[in-house]
C-alpha cells in the first residue's frame, strides 16, 4: 500500500511542478494546490499505513490494546489543509485582482514591479 501511495505522491508533485512552470497564473495556482496535496499525502504515508483499529483507548484502560492507527499525521494534515486552503483562497483572489487591474494572466507581461528594459545605472561617481 505504501508503494502505491509513494508513486501517487511522486505523480502529484510531478504534475504540480509541471503546472507551476507555466506562465499562466491560474495554472500556477492549480499546480501549487496539486503540489501541496501531494505533500499532504506524503505526510500521511510517512505516518505508516495500518489496517488496524481506530486510535481509541477502551474504557477502563490507560493504553490501547494491540496496534492502532497513528493519529498524529491526521492532526498534522488537518492543520496543513486549513492553512493551505486559506492560502489558496487568498492567492485566487489576488490572481483575479491582478487580472483585473493588470489585464494579464501571463506572468511574462506582469512587469510593473520589475520593468522589462531596466535603465542603465547612472555612470556618475
Amino acid at each position: 500500500m505504501e508503494y502505491i501511495l509513494a508513486v501517487l505522491v511522486g505523480l502529484f508533485i510531478a504534475i504540480g511542478t509541471y503546472l507551476l512552470l507555466s506562465r499562466s497564473v491560474i495554472r500556477m495556482l492549480i499546480g501549487l494546490t496539486i503540489f501541496s496535496n501531494g505533500v499532504l499525502l506524503l505526510i500521511f504515508t510517512a505516518g505508516r499505513l495500518t489496517q488496524e483499529v481506530a486510535p481509541i483507548v477502551p474504557e477502563g484502560l490507560e493504553v490501547p490494546e494491540g496496534t492502532i492507527a497513528n493519529p498524529l499525521p491526521q492532526a498534522l494534515i488537518l492543520t496543513a489543509i486549513v492553512i493551505g486552503f486559506s492560502m489558496f483562497a487568498f492567492l485566487l483572489v489576488l490572481a483575479f485582482r491582478a487580472y483585473q487591474s493588470l489585464d494579464a494572466d501571463n506572468t511574462d507581461t506582469m512587469r510593473l514591479a520589475e520593468p522589462d528594459n531596466a535603465p542603465n545605472p547612472p555612470l556618475s561617481y
Binding site: 503540489f35 498534522l76 492553512i83 531596466a118
Partner: protein, 535 residues
C-alpha cells in the same frame, strides 16, 4: 519549570504540578499579539484607537520579552509545554538567548514602525486593518523565534505569511498586485517545501520536537537525513532570500508603502535565516556537516552577487533590497563555519540586520516622500534641503557595510575570526575559510560602494540627472506633522543603532553566551526535560 516528574502512578507523559507563573512570559508575547490583533480588528473603523491599542500591546510584549531575556540570561533556556503533555508529546515553546533576543529586537522595531507608519496614512485609513495585521505578523515572528517544535515553526511561518499577504497589498495599486503575486507564490512554495521535509523527517524519526530530534537523529540513515536537511535548506533559503532563490525579494519589497517594506525587511528574511540556523546547526548538526560545501557556496554567492545588484539598480528601495540579501549571505557564512565565533557572528548579524535593514527602508521611505520619486535618477540635492535625512542615510550605509564604529562591524569581525580559524581549530579545509574571509571583505567594499553611490546620487549631487545646479534644486515636499513623527521615529532607531555600535560590549557578551548554547545544545535539551532519557 514545567517539567517535573509525576509522583503518582499516572503515566509519565502528563504534567502533574501547576506551571509556575514565571514560565508564562514565554507564551505571553505570542498570546498578547494574537489577542491584540483580534481585539483591534473590532475597532478598525475608529480613529486613533488602533494605533494606541497596538502601541500598548507591543509595549506589553516588550516588557514580557525583557523579563524572558533576563530569565534566560540568568538561568539558561526556558521551556514551557502546552496542554499538560510532556515533550515529546506536547508542543514545547523553548526560548534560549538567541530566540529571546531576536524576539525582543523584532518587537522593538515593530513599535517604531507603528509610529513611522503614520507617514503614509490618512485619518480615514482605519478600515484597512493595518494595525491588527502588524500584530499578527509580530505574533508569527515571535512564535517562530520562541518555538521548540518544528511543526509549530511551520504554523508560525504560515501565520507570518498570511499577515504579510494582507500587508503587501495594502494600498491596492497595480504595482503592488504584481509584486504580491511573485511574493505570494514563491513564499507559499517555500513553506510547502518546508512541510514536505517535515513529513519526511516525521517518517524517519517519528518526532518533530527539536530537542527530541537532536536525541534520535543519529539513529536514522545519514543519507536520508541529509536529504531532509537539504530540503530544509532549500525551504529556509527561499524564505531568507539566499542567492540562487532570491528573485522574489527585489521583485516585491519595494512595492508596498515604506513602513510595510521596512517591517518585512527587518523581520521576514531574518526569521528564515534564524530557522536555518536552528534547524541545521542545532537540530541536525551531522547533516549540516554533509551540506557544508553547499552552505559555503551559497554564502559566497549571496555575499558577492547581492551588492552587485545594489550597485546596478536605480530604484532606491529595490537597491536596498539587494543590501538586505547581502546581509543574509553574512548569516549563512556563519552557518558554514559553526565554531563559537561563527555562530556568534551569525546571531549578532541577525540582531544587527533586524534593526539596520528596517531603518534603511524607513529612511528610503522618507526620501521617497520628500522627493515624490522612487527612482534615484530623478533625485538629487536633498542634502541642501534636508541635512538630517542625509546624515541618517549615510550612518545606516556605514552600519550595513560594517565600517568599524558601527553595529555591523562586530558580527563581521566575529565572522572574519571564524574564517581565519578554519583549519586551525576545526577540521574544515583552510581554503574554505580563506575564501569566506575574502568574500566577506569584498562584500563590505561592494556594499559600501553601492550605499555611498546611492547617497551621492540622492543627496550630494546638485540636482536630478541631466539637470545641473543652474536649474535649481528639485522641488521637495516639506514634511507635515505625520512626516516629522516618522522622521523622529527613524531618528530614535538610528540613534539606538549607533549607541549599540559604540558600546557593543553587553550585546557581544550576551550573544556569545547564546552561541555557546547553539554550539552545545545540552542546556536546551535539559530545559525541555528530555535530557538523560535513554532511547
Amino acid at each position: 519549570m514545567a517539567t517535573s516528574t509525576p509522583t503518582t502512578d499516572l503515566p509519565q507523559a502528563m504534567i502533574e504540578t501547576v506551571i509556575p507563573a514565571s514560565d508564562w512570559v514565554i507564551v505571553l508575547p505570542i498570546a498578547l499579539a494574537l489577542m491584540g490583533a483580534a481585539g483591534l480588528m473590532m475597532f478598525r473603523r475608529s480613529n486613533g484607537i488602533p494605533l494606541i491599542g497596538a502601541v500598548i500591546v507591543v509595549l506589553a510584549i516588550i516588557a514580557c520579552e525583557i523579563a524572558l531575556l533576563l530569565e534566560v540570561l540568568a538561568n539558561g533556556p526556558v521551556s514551557m509545554t502546552m496542554g499538560r503533555w510532556l515533550p515529546p508529546f506536547g508542543i514545547s515553546l523553548t526560548a534560549d538567548i538567541f530566540g529571546a533576543s531576536f524576539a525582543l529586537a523584532a518587537a522593538l522595531v515593530t513599535l517604531i514602525v507603528l509610529f513611522y507608519a503614520e507617514l503614509d496614512r490618512a485619518d480615514a485609513d482605519g478600515r484597512d486593518a493595518f494595525h491588527p495585521m502588524v500584530l499578527l505578523l509580530l505574533a508569527g515572528v515571535t512564535g517562530a523565534f520562541l518555538t521548540g517544535d518544528l511543526f509549530n515553526l511551520y504554523v508560525w511561518f504560515e501565520v507570518m505569511l498570511i499577515a504579510s499577504f494582507g500587508l503587501i497589498v495594502q494600498g491596492n495599486r497595480p504595482l503592488q498586485l504584481d509584486g504580491a503575486v511573485k511574493y505570494g507564490f514563491l513564499n507559499f512554495l517555500a513553506t510547502t517545501f518546508f512541510l514536505m521535509s517535515l513529513g519526511l523527517l516525521y517518517g524517519l524519526l517519528g518526532t518533530l520536537n527539536m530537542a527530541d530530534i537532536m536525541r534520535v537523529a543519529a539513529t536514522a540513515n545519514p543519507a536520508a537525513m541529509a536529504g531532509v536537511a537539504a530540503l530544509l535548506l532549500l525551504a529556509f533559503g527561499m524564505k531568507a532570500a539566499a542567492f540562487p532563490v532570491n528573485a522574489w525579494l527585489p521583485a516585491s519589497y519595494h512595492t508596498p508603502p515604506a513602513a510595510i517594506s521596512a517591517l518585512f525587511a527587518g523581520l521576514l528574511t531574518k526569521v528564515g535565516a534564524y530557522a536555518m540556523l536552528r534547524a541545521l546547526v542545532v537540530v541536525l548538526p551531522a547533516s549540516r556537516d554533509m551540506l557544508e560545501p553547499v552552505l559555503a557556496c551559497i554564502a559566497i554567492g549571496t555575499l558577492l552577487i547581492a551588492p552587485l545588484g545594489a550597485i546596478a539598480e536605480t530604484n532606491l528601495r529595490r537597491a536596498i533590497g539587494f543590501v538586505v540579501i547581502g546581509g543574509i549571505g553574512a548569516v549563512i557564512a556563519g552557518l558554514s563555519m559553526p565554531s563559537l565565533n561563527g555562530v556568534a557572528g551569525s546571531g549578532l548579524y541577525i540582531f544587527h540586520a533586524i534593526l539596520t535593514m528596517t531603518a534603511l527602508y524607513m529612511v528610503a521611505g522618507l526620501v521617497e516622500k520628500a522627493t515624490g520619486q522612487t527612482d534615484t535618477r530623478q533625485m538629487g540635492g536633498l542634502y541642501a534641503a534636508n541635512a538630517p535625512l542625509s546624515i541618517l542615510f549615510i550612518l545606516l550605509v556605514l552600519a550595513s557595510a560594517g565600517v568599524p564604529p558601527f553595529l555591523g562591524f562586530c558580527p563581521k569581525l566575529l565572522l572574519l575570526e571564524a574564517g581565519l580559524d578554519q583549519g586551525v581549530t576545526s577540521t574544515a579545509p583552510t581554503w574554505l575559510g580563506t575564501a569566506m574571509v575574502l568574500a566577506l571583505l569584498i562584500n563590505a567594499v561592494l556594499t559600501l560602494i553601492a550605499g555611498t553611490r546611492l547617497w551621492a546620487h540622492v543627496f550630494w549631487r546638485s540636482g536630478p540627472e541631466g539637470q545641473g545646479a543652474e536649474h535649481g534644486s528639485m522641488e521637495l515636499t516639506t514634511f507635515t506633522k505625520r512626516g516629522n513623527l516618522a522622521l523622529g521615529a527613524t531618528t530614535v532607531l538610528v540613534v539606538g543603532i549607533v549607541v549599540a555600535g559604540l558600546w557593543p560590549g553587553p550585546l557581544m557578551e550576551g550573544i556569545s553566551a547564546g552561541a555557546a548554547d547553539i554550539v552545545d545544545p545540552a542546556r536546551y535539551v535539559e530545559a525541555t526535560g528530555l535530557a538523560g532519557d535513554e532511547l
